[in-house]
């Protein structure tokens, strides 16, 4: 007689939270498919010349030599004083969420320098976080309740969908911008977005702008900043200005910070209490691995709260010490900022010229590590699907990972963000060449 094996009921699998299983991290979107393509077949000048060239990562590699030069000449930054250990003990124990005073001071003066001295920053208002990603999330936690909304002009950095919404439960309502006026933010767009949010039953808590803009690669005009600030005052909401690319403006004079606007209005309380600036060293200084971000707020309660919450995202004291040394060296920072701007401008000129030769136009830009390219004329159909089809071709056949405008919530199909500062000039030439050949072929035959 066969022995009947009793089926043991499988114990119920232990459940995870909703946040853990949610898709808000966005990593299954087409945007990340391009990254996967790169990871699987990365370009290398010598070992893999037919691989995928990464043009979807906004990283600044054009000025490493300046940083390395500094570190070589100032080894005390990497160590803790003479004999490598003098200040070590205190530094290793230092976990105060106020951050190293010397480092806060250095960040404040660096931010002033980037703005050509046109705005002053108080080191006691600098709150440190491990990267701008953390800074933006922290501010969202502090300024908005779950279910509330932030208004963000499109196109915007795809990471915001994840960084600002995932754990916070806050929503993003787009402020639609159009190529007809070079994607500048208009007063009517602001109001339309606000009204849209209200009609959906959402409480709007703030506007978040990125200035210079990602992915546009252009600064926000002073008049627009004034408008946005007035709008925020009128609606009594916050204004977050993510100025992470401020040091990557090709010329200092072209960047106007919200800080300057505040000061030109006599720093009235009604303006100050709602303005917060996010900054980081990941783009301007090319140090994303160091994880250095900051919130600069003119609102005392926000400074206090952000500081306490920064316990979850402190910067290593070792790194604070190293960068305090570097950023308080004004000769170094002045030269760095100037040289970095020039090199980025040169790169930008190269890519614009190269694209133009291929018959491709870009939005006129003046900042950032990327350009905003218009392939609209090449689309088979002027829709999001048409854009993604073209994008797929480019990733798969041309082997360039660029970022489709739809992933940035651009309201018009056909725009793409192309990064140019994370590769050598030679690699950039290869990329431009590939793109040129693809566009020629595509125009003639409708395929690659």
């Amino acid at each position: 007689m066969a022995i009947e094996l009793e089926q043991q009921p499988k114990p119920a699998a232990v459940a995870l939270s909703r946040i853990a299983v949610s898709e808000t991290h966005g990593e299954d979107s087409p945007y990340f498919a391009g990254w996967k393509a790169y990871d699987e077949n990365p370009y290398d000048e010598l070992t893999n010349p037919s691989g995928v060239i990464q043009m979807g990562l906004a990283e600044n590699q054009v000025s490493f030599d300046l940083l390395e030069d500094f570190l070589e000449r100032h080894s005390e930054a990497a160590t803790w004083g003479k004999g490598a250990t003098a200040g070590f003990r205190d530094n290793a124990l230092f976990q105060d969420y106020h951050g190293l005073k010397s480092f806060r001071g250095a960040m404040a003066s660096f931010m002033e320098q980037i703005r050509g001295g046109r705005a002053r920053f108080d080191p006691d208002r600098v709150v440190l976080t491990a990267g701008a990603t953390a800074a933006n999330e922290l501010l969202t936690f502090i300024l908005a309740n779950p279910g509330d909304a932030l208004l963000i002009p499109t196109p915007y950095y795809p990471g915001f969908d994840r960084d600002l919404r995932w754990r916070t439960g806050v929503q993003i309502v787009p402020i639609h911008c159009h190529s007809s006026n070079n994607f500048q933010i208009t007063e009517s767009a602001l109001h339309a977005a606000y009204d849209d949010a209200v009609s959906r039953g959402l409480t709007v808590r703030g506007v978040l702008i990125t200035n210079p803009s990602n992915p546009l690669g252009a600064t926000v005009q002073r008049a627009a900043l004034e408008q946005i600030l007035d709008f925020a005052v009128e609606k009594n909401i916050h204004l977050v200005s993510d100025e992470i690319y401020s040091g990557s403006t090709f010329s200092s004079a072209e960047f106007v910070s919200i800080a300057e606007v505040l000061e030109s209005r006599g720093s009235r309380h009604v303006d100050r209490e709602r303005v917060h600036i996010v900054y980081s060293l990941s783009k301007d200084l090319g140090l994303p691995g160091f994880r250095v971000g900051t919130i600069y707020s003119y609102n005392d309660a926000v400074v206090t709260t952000a500081r306490r919450m920064s316990s979850f995202t402190l910067i290593s004291s070792q790194t604070q010490h190293l960068l305090a040394c570097m950023l308080s060296d004004e000769e170094f920072t002045a030269n760095y900022v100037k040289t970095n701007r020039e090199r980025l401008r040169r790169r930008y000129d190269v890519i614009i010229a190269g694209l133009r030769r291929a018959g491709i136009e870009c939005l006129r830009g003046n900042a950032g590590l990327f350009c905003w390219m218009n392939l609209g004329p090449l689309l088979k159909e002027s829709t999001k699907e048409g854009e993604l089809a073209l994008w797929n071709l480019i990733v798969r056949d041309v082997r360039l990972n660029i970022s489709p405008g739809s992933s940035c919530h651009c309201s018009e199909p056909g725009w793409f963000r192309v990064c140019f500062a994370n590769m050598s000039e030679a690699t950039l030439d290869v990329a431009l060449d590939r793109l040129h050949r693809f566009v020629d072929q595509y125009r003639r035959t409708g395929s690659s």
């Binding site: 114990p11 232990v14 459940a15 939270s17 909703r18 946040i19 991290h25 990283e59 390395e68 570190l71 070589e72 990497a78 160590t79 490598a84 250990t85 070590f88 530094n91 290793a92 124990l93 976990q95 491990a130 990267g131 953390a134 936690f141 502090i142 300024l143 309740n145 779950p146 006026n181 208009t186 808590r205 600064t219 005009q221 002073r222 008049a223 004034e226 005052v233 009128e234 009594n236 072209e254 030109s264 209005r265 009604v270 209490e273 994303p288 691995g289 160091f290 994880r291 250095v292 609102n299 309660a301 709260t305 979850f312 995202t313 402190l314 290593s316 004291s317 070792q318 830009g365 003046n366």
Partner: protein
């Protein structure tokens, strides 16, 4: 009793200005009217009058109108696009002219955190910051026994740095300092080399009874974000974890702040030497269920903080069975695993217990970090170690908000891979903690103050109930206050740790030099005398 963040947002109040006094003079005599003695007519007249006065007040204090747009020339820009009409309409400028009366609001979460924290744990830390003891520079200052820090082995680390630092940053062969490798974006959950080095360190520190798999590890900027990230993965807003008391005061902030997850205390008693029992756990679980709370897991520290006892194998088995039965998670915070001084018992990690066993491992998670066992809290290194692939995947994605700085990773890879140094460090550290423990607990003993039996951590759990007049939390806090402000010694009162028996205090002794111990005992003794003689 602990400060728990309220979820009530404060109502927006009119901005206080210099002219507020005028308002007050109106309000006070009106009180009588408002309270009903004035009748209906006055009841409707008063609000109208107030409205009139409000308008008058606003008219007088209107902010200056913003400058006309012509005084703000557009910034010169070669890329200045042909802008659409951006001029402000006049109706909107009128609104602006009046100025806001209502201050812009923070979120409820923000408001809760903005309130001053009056837990003695934080108050004490703040006071020490303002008047820290220093043998030479500030001999009358407050001696810090309220922060579990270990400075006993810095000499070893400093020596290692002297010999190895520049190599570790430059890659060992005297090559030029290249930041290329560490400047760029790194995996947010830590470099694999660091995970390998950490897995090895954890294994050594926990007595080599178990090995850790680097692929089950997620690294982040400290144990503080580690516990928060894990909480975000395991529980929803409004759910709860069971946690034995007394517990580390920081958990109230770290776990509850942003996740909205509750902590349900499972009270442990001195009769059990504050050891967790499954009976108490079961009781707490059932009570939580009755209150409609969904329990998602049990969180415990092993070695425990603030008591310092370690869980026996039997208890760990029981906990795992309990978790399996209720289908909940187990979080074992083993951050003090390497800070052992006891000789009677051996520390056993939950990882060792479940190795090769039939337990459903997917519910087991370990928290670790380098702040205690390697004395590097400033460098921000924490670990979530899990047997659950989905937890690892989710936690990994969340580390983008709290990654370890690259230069620090590079330094630690080098240090942790130096096996000879690490072995020497672990052993010397234990010896020195043991020495301080003997001195300190012995000193307290001589004052008639007994400590709970403990084997690990950087502190002892002292019973000062004989010194308190009122056997209550109030009495305990009075003693705490005396110790801090008269004795100038900062210790952590049991009530800050949710201890159910008053009179217990956590005293950290590993940030002291041996020669400071007599002074500490003298100061505590003085306060003890005061209490005994009824002051």
């Amino acid at each position: 009793m602990t400060e728990s963040p309220s979820s009530e947002p404060e109502p927006p109040s009119p901005k206080p200005r210099a002219a507020a006094g005028n308002g007050m003079r109106l309000v006070v005599p009106l009180q009588g009217v408002v309270q009903g003695r004035g009748g209906l007519i006055l009841g409707s007249l008063i609000p109208c009058a107030l409205f009139y006065f409000l308008q008058l007040y606003l008219k007088r204090h209107r902010s200056p109108k913003p400058p006309a747009s012509s005084s703000n020339p557009p910034s010169p820009s070669s890329s200045s696009p042909n802008l659409g009409d951006l001029a402000r309409t006049s109706s909107r400028s009128n609104l602006l002219g009046r100025g806001s009366i209502v201050p812009v609001r923070l979120s409820s979460r923000g408001m809760a955190i903005a309130k001053p924290n009056d837990s003695p744990y934080y108050v004490g830390l703040d006071k020490v910051a303002g008047d820290r003891f220093h043998r030479v520079d500030n001999p009358e200052g407050i001696i810090q026994l309220g922060l579990s820090e270990n400075t006993l082995c810095f000499d070893l680390i400093e020596r290692w740095m002297k010999e190895n630092l520049m190599d570790s940053l430059m890659g060992g062969d005297g090559a030029e300092l290249s930041i290329n490798g560490m400047a760029t974006y790194q995996p947010f959950d830590g470099l694999m080399e660091l995970k390998v080095a950490m897995a090895d360190f954890m294994s050594r520190v926990m007595g080599k009874g178990v090995s850790f798999n680097p692929s089950q590890m997620v690294l982040m900027a400290g144990a503080t974000p580690a516990i928060e990230i894990l909480t975000f993965c395991l529980a929803d807003h409004g759910n709860a974890f069971l946690i034995p008391t007394p517990y580390y005061p920081g958990f109230d902030r770290d776990i509850k702040f942003r996740t909205g997850v509750e902590l349900i205390p499972v009270h442990c008693r001195s009769t059990d030497n504050f050891m967790l029992t499954v009976t108490a756990l079961d009781q707490a679980y059932n009570q939580a269920r009755k209150r409609g709370l969904k329990v998602r897991g049990i969180l415990f520290s092993n070695p425990s903080n603030p008591v310092g006892n370690i869980l026996s194998r039997e208890t760990l088995y029981e906990l795992l069975d309990f978790a399996q039965e209720k289908n909940i998670h187990i979080i074992s915070d083993e951050i003090f695993a390497g800070s052992l001084y006891g000789t009677a018992e051996e520390f056993v990690s939950v990882a060792e217990i479940i190795e090769g066993e039939e337990f459903d491992k997917s519910r087991v998670h370990i928290i670790y970090g380098l702040s205690k066992d390697l004395s590097l809290p400033g460098f921000r290194v924490g670990v979530v170690y899990s047997y659950n692939e989905n937890v690892l995947a989710a936690a990994k994605r969340l580390t983008r908000f709290s990654s370890i700085s690259a230069p620090t990773q590079r330094l630690l890879i080098s240090m942790l891979s130096d096996a000879k140094f690490i072995e020497e460090y672990i052993e010397t550290n234990r010896k020195r903690i043991r020495r301080m423990y003997d001195l300190f607990v012995g000193g307290l003993d001589q004052l008639g103050i007994r400590c709970a039996k403990s084997s690990g951590g950087l502190y002892c759990w002292a019973d000062m109930s004989v010194l308190i007049a009122l056997y209550s939390e109030k009495g305990e806090l009075e003693l705490w206050d005396k110790l801090l402000n008269v004795g100038k010694v900062n210790v952590t009162p049991g009530s800050a740790c949710h201890c159910i028996e008053p009179g217990w205090f956590r005293c950290c002794f590993t940030a002291l030099a041996e020669e400071d111990v007599p002074l500490v005992m003298e100061r505590i003794g003085k306060v003890a005398e005061m209490c005994k003689s009824g002051h």
